[in-house]
């Protein structure tokens, strides 16, 4: 379960919860979830990794994966822009992890790093997780107290 919440000055206005596909999958965590702001800044709005040790390694992984995201977006630009699929699929596999990407129409990127050995997470599960993540992000953007571009804080 991935929780993303936001605060206003007085009280928590709302909180959105992303369920990993279904309750049954709660055991199957993505190793890392990241929301990355739209270009040209391209900095992370939110990063949450489950093994907190050696987190910088994942930072590098996600950072370099942006190359692939850029490439995929630009390749898609030639194709149908309106009808395009937000889910980018597997960005690239590394030895231990798989990196998946998702890009909203406003070019906000979601990147998820999953343990390669985790077979429970197939394409469909990843896709629905991204969709829920996107919904939560939309909720955050709806919060009048949130400034687009600020870091997202999770409870």
């Amino acid at each position: 379960m991935v929780k993303i919440a936001y605060f206003d000055s007085s009280n928590s206005l709302g909180e959105s919860t992303v369920m990993a596909s279904a309750v049954t999958y709660t055991a199957e965590w993505p190793v890392l979830v990241s929301i990355i702001f739209s270009p040209p800044q391209n900095y992370p709005l939110y990063i949450r990794s489950v093994p907190t040790e050696n987190e910088l390694k994942f930072h590098y992984t996600v950072h370099t994966s942006l190359d692939v995201v850029d490439e995929k977006i630009s390749a898609m630009g030639k194709a149908l822009v309106d009808q395009r699929e937000l889910y980018l699929g597997l960005l690239y596999p590394t030895e231990d992890y798989k990196v998946y990407g998702y890009v909203t129409n406003s070019k906000v990127k979601f990147v998820m790093v999953v343990d390669s050995s985790n077979t429970a997470l197939r394409d469909n599960e990843i896709r629905s997780m991204f969709r829920k993540l996107h919904n939560s992000y939309t909720d955050i953007m709806c919060n009048p107290f949130y400034n687009p571009g600020d870091r997202i804080h999770s409870r």
């Binding site: 702001f37 800044q41 391209n42 900095y43 930072h59 590098y60 370099t64 942006l66």
Partner: protein, 1043 residues
Amino acid sequence: MSVPDYMQCAEDHQTLLVVVQPIGIVPEESFFRIYKRISAVSQVNVRDSQRVLYIRYRHHYPPENNEWGDFQTHRKVVGLITITDCSSAKDWPQTFEKFHLQKEMYGSTLYDSRLFVFGLQGEIAEQPRTDVAFYPSYDECETVEKRIEDFIESLFIVLESKRLDRATDKSGDKIPLLCVPFEKKDFVGLDTDSRHYKKRCQGRMRKHVGDLCLQAGMLQDSLVHYHMAVELLRSVNDFLWLGAALEGLCSASVIYHYPGGTGGKVGSRRAQGGSLSAEAGNRHRPGALTSNGINADTSAEIGRAKNCLSPEDIIDKYKEAISYYGKYKNAGVIELEACVKAVRVLAIQKRSMEASEFLQNAVYINLRQLSEEEKIQRYSILSELYERIGFHRKSAFFKRIAAMQCAAPSIPEPGWRACYKLLLETLPGYSLSLDPKDFSKGTHRGWAAVQMRLLHELVYASRRMGNPALCVRHLSFLLQTMLDFLSDQEKKDVTQSLESYTAKCPGTMEFITLPDGLKLPPVPFTKLPIVRSVKLLNLPTSLRPHKMKSLLGQNVSTKSPFIYSPIIAHSRGEERNKKIDFQWVQGDVCEVQLMVYNPMPFELRVENMGLLTTGVEFESLPAALSLPAESGLYPVTLVGVPQTTGQITVNGYHTSVFGVFSDCLLDNLPGVKTNGCTVEVIPALPRLQISTSLPRSAHTLQPSSGDEISTNVSVQLYNGETQQLIIKLENIGTEPLEKLEVTAKTVNTKEKLYGDFLSWKLEDTLSQFPLKPGKIATFTVNIKVKLDFSCQENLLQDLSDDGISVSGLPLSSPFRQVVKPRVETKPINPQESSKVGDFSHVKTLEAILNFKYSGGPGHVEGYYRNLSLGLHVEVEPSVFFTRVSTLPATSTRQCHLLLDVFNSTEHELTISARNNEDLILHAGECQRMAIQVDKFNFESFPESPTDGTQFANAKQLEEERQQAKGLEINSKLDICWKIISFHEYFVEGVLNQLVLEHLQLAPLQWGEFLIRLVQRLWNVECSIPTTCMPVTSFRKSPQFIRK
């Protein structure tokens, strides 16, 4: 085969490998000069054919790679050029011997070789030899190029003969099996007569011929051979060679499709003549005419369409080839090189995603244990390739790894310099620049976590390089740009290390230029502390310059002929935004207030904080401050002295934090509020300091006009008293004081004042002028307090009480003094007690003395300064005249004026009047005194000159007249009081005069009625001489008063 050549590209398949090596002792510089000239000859048009030979020169080539020459002929060293330095004929045989030794190293594959001898002259040099060329020196060798071309032609002849020899299909002969070094042992004892074996031999030979054709410039032939080889080898599952054949096919196709080359090096391939471009131009028109007539190689045209691979097929075939190579562990280098070549092709095709897959594959190819240097090379090349396909982040990632490898702990002598250089190259990939300006605006760019890491590594590398200035610069940059992302602990660590570095080498505002020309801009600490607002402060009121009115008027009139114009007003309004409407004065301390706060979780010590200005020579007086941890907004005042006049602009401020000097310009600061930064500096003015004989007062005046009082003095006086105030004027400035004007203004005028409150004679003081700096002049002011001596409230109360008033009018002899103090000072009476309270009421008078002064150059410019002295006078009541009445005297020309006098002081005092004896009053006592006065006619007063002429002035006239009458009465009566127990002088004549005037003014203040009353009293006496009349009139008079 263990050393991969990462620089390889597909076109290299068509080149002939020539090794150029020095033997003996050849100066490196000279060798490379010759090497450069030799390698310039990389394309040779072979005579009488259209074919072009491409040569690849190497000055170093591992012989074990040469062993793979049969597998791919471009790996075979076919030519050897040796360069040697031989000064005497005696050394010659030895040198020649070495040349032969060198030849043997590559002997099996060499087609031909050359020896270039430099420095040898004489007999030996004159012998004509084909394989040796003699040159007198490195500078005199014009024929080197020619020699090389001849040499290449000889290579071509050998190549061509080999090609023709192997291309002709001699079915009868047994075809030898070509094999790579690691295969040799596998074929021992194999049946050489089987069809399978024969086919394998055929396939491999086809592939070999294809290679030779490609090298010999026969592209189309090579394609045909490669195709045949692929078919043959596929049927026998000879995967390694199948891969090689496929790769050959790809290479040939790439050469055909991309004549510009895939290596990306512009200089490496000279676009020679028409052949390449012509071929490129007419490749879609088979059989077309070229500039040289009909294309000689017509056979090529026919097979072209089907033999050459399409760009998509090239990649498929590369993939296939690489997958076959992958089956053999020993062919790792081949696989790696194939990957690199494929990536280069894909980069040209702009198919980054597929290229990245190839690269990803290349990453996983496990070669034997690599040396550190090879690792660095490998990562660098990966980085370069990622860069080429537009994966800047990935490229930066590998470059960083390469950099880390340079300084790996396993290396005995870490190459920090190389590490630093590589790290610098990664910066763009992490969207990091070393210019702090890029980070000052808007939201942060790029991935802060990895950027921070990189900056830390830069700091470390530069420190290990032994360049503390660089280290400080990077660390400052880290602190400045990443402040928002550093945790509290990190902030502490970073600042601590920064301080320790700056102890050795303070941070400056200079550009740091690196050896390779990169310039590191200075990093001003605009966030340590953060400045929120900058406000230029006006001078203190007493030092503020004012413009003389007349000059100001001139100024306005010269600006514009119009009294009002909306256009001008508009432009002025804009100007005002930047310019401030006050002035600073040359030579005076001027202040700028900054609101700052400290974002650090610990106390921030800012040293040497001062202003940066332009326009006027400005002596900044630096301040040091210490801001508490995470302080709120904190006001800081920076001061300085303008030394010249003109427009001064405050551009920013400089600080020294953690040993780093920063010049922070306001233009570069985001979110700074300012009220304008340009102010005018006017010429110097003198400064006046005043001190007085009176004590300073804690009581501050609040003047209405907004100007402040620099000094306040207070004095306590009894009503009617006079005191002298001596003011010392000291010129504490540097300019002579030339002009002085003094004006006084009474404030808080609830009380009606009579006569001059303050009076002075300026002439005495002005005679001491001009006042030189440091000199003192004195100035005397007389303070007179004359308030109402009557007791208005008391009287009114009396009126309400008829009995008292009647009893207060006894008809008795004129000289009789009614001495009934017990009765008069009735403390028992509640009405009276309230009266007493009124009597003791202390009244205050306040006045401001304004000193307008000027001098020096500022005076010439028409400026003056204004210094105000606040005067606070507490007036204690002295005597009160509670009742006034008259009695007729014995003579008709005279009458008795009866006054009830009340002593409200705590002292015994005496009242005296003209022609009268003193009356002694005890504290709180009330007595009646009678004064015999001459009657006089008010009508006899001289009418004021304007009398009757101006109707509008009637009221004023009336007042004047009344005042004159009051004065007249005063002079007649001449009443004064003095306190006996007090200082003698205090009760002197001056005082008397005061009292006198007061008395006379008292009736005035009672209003018209009282004036009239007194007048009537006199008038009645004067006009009606009958004795009976006054009595009635007297009786009436108090009633008049009552109303």
